[in-house]
């Protein structure tokens, strides 16, 4: 946790300079393809999902499996809130902030306790899920959409974990931390409204 303070300060700086990110376009159809493409067509979502996997890999066991298990379930809860029209403030800001925070956590190789990691990831998962749920096409086929949506999200986590295995070598750790910094920068760009 020794690098938590600078990470949080940087996150706060980005958060205070935030404007709403506009990365979601919504989709016209509501089947498997729509559900599958929804999480992977928005870069703000993609970077956060990958960052979850990367951070999990950095934290090692048990976080490497706990985070990808927790995230889809909590995200689906957020999605349910969105589908049911339950309002959640600052969703787009929360999504962009997730890229910043998770990216910085990876970049600074922050070693958080499992419950702290789960809490951080869980909170951001609600924002991501809510955005997806809100933008859902009204004619969606629930089962097909749900399967596509969850599979795409899970695959993004697995990609992150796959890259995270690079952390076993010194060069790999540098590469992963660089990816974390890039993710944080992209999240910052969304927060600032320039992406």
């Amino acid at each position: 946790m020794r690098r938590t303070l600078p990470t949080l300060l940087l996150s706060l700086t980005f958060a205070l300079s935030a404007v709403a990110a506009q990365a979601h376009t919504g989709l016209a159809e509501g089947g498997f393809v729509s559900g599958f493409t929804h999480p992977i067509l928005g870069w703000d979502h993609v970077i956060a999902m990958v960052a979850v996997g990367l951070w999990g890999a950095f934290l090692g066991a048990p976080a490497i499996w706990a985070l990808p298990i927790v995230f889809p379930m909590v995200m689906a809860f957020g999605g349910a809130l969105g589908i049911l029209g339950v309002p959640l403030p600052a969703v787009e800001t929360g999504i962009a902030l997730s890229g910043v925070v998770l990216g910085l956590l990876v970049a600074f190789a922050v070693r958080a306790p499992l419950w702290v990691a789960g809490l951080i990831v869980g909170i951001f998962a609600v924002f991501h899920g809510h955005a997806h749920g809100t933008e859902l096409p009204s004619a969606a086929n629930p089962l097909a959409y749900g399967i596509g949506f969850v599979l795409a999200t899970g695959m993004l986590h697995l990609i992150g974990i796959g890259f995270g295995f690079l952390t076993s070598s010194r060069g790999g750790r540098i590469a992963v931390r660089t990816i974390g910094a890039l993710i944080a920068a992209m999240g910052g760009a969304y927060l600032a409204g320039i992406a």
């Binding site: 066991a61 499996w65 990808p68 298990i69 927790v70 889809p72 379930m73 995200m75 689906a76 809860f77 999605g79 349910a80 809130l81 589908i83 049911l84 029209g85 749920g133 969606a140 629930p142 089962l143 959409y145 749900g146 399967i147 949506f149 969850v150 599979l151 999200t153 899970g154």
Partner: protein, 184 residues
């Protein structure tokens, strides 16, 4: 309030009835998804064979209770499936083995009753009910066998993969519940 029974495919011949019964399972997520979740649960609790009696009891109870089942049972089945899937995702190898039988009986009863709710005992051909039961068994046995095969090895990723599958199943179930509750 009178329950609105599901409509099913053609049942003019025994083969058509059997096929319609088997395919019906895939059409209604409130039946299919909880059964898949149950399969994963049983995978961690010694497999289907240990709970064979409970499974058969659940199938029988599901068919017998279906004529009296309210439409809301579909939601109950989805919620039951969500709890089962979430339990597998969160507890995994720590699931108590003795939980397998009650969980199996309850989940299958809800799933089958919700599929056949509102149908009288004489309104569906025997072939159709047999198709439903066969497909329901397959929906439990297949994921259980797959999970059991995965869990046999010692590598850490094996139970992890089953728990991730359960986590994804939980997420799908939660979304389906939300869709079902969404105001039109």
């Amino acid at each position: 309030m009178a329950a609105q029974a599901h409509g099913f495919g053609a049942m003019e011949t025994p083969v058509q009835a059997l096929t319609s019964g088997a395919l019906a399972l895939g059409v209604y997520p409130e039946t299919l998804l909880p059964l898949l979740a149950l399969g994963l649960w049983l995978g961690f609790c010694g497999g289907v064979r240990r709970s064979a009696l409970a499974i058969l009891a659940g199938l029988g109870a599901g068919v017998l209770l279906a004529p009296f089942a309210p439409e809301a049972l579909a939601m109950l089945s989805l919620m039951c499936g969500t709890l089962v899937a979430a339990g597998v995702a969160l507890a995994g190898p720590r699931l108590p083995t003795q939980s397998a039988q009650p969980v199996a009986a309850l989940t299958i009863t809800f799933a089958i009753s919700s599929l056949l709710h509102g149908q009288g005992f004489d309104s569906l051909p025997v072939g159709f009910v047999a198709g439903v039961m066969g497909a329901a068994l397959l929906a439990v046995v297949a994921p259980s066998a797959l999970a059991g095969a995965l869990l046999r090895g010692g590598a850490a990723w094996r139970p992890l993969s089953v728990r991730i599958a359960a986590s994804w199943l939980t997420a799908i179930l939660v979304l389906v519940i939300a869709f079902s509750l969404r105001p039109v």
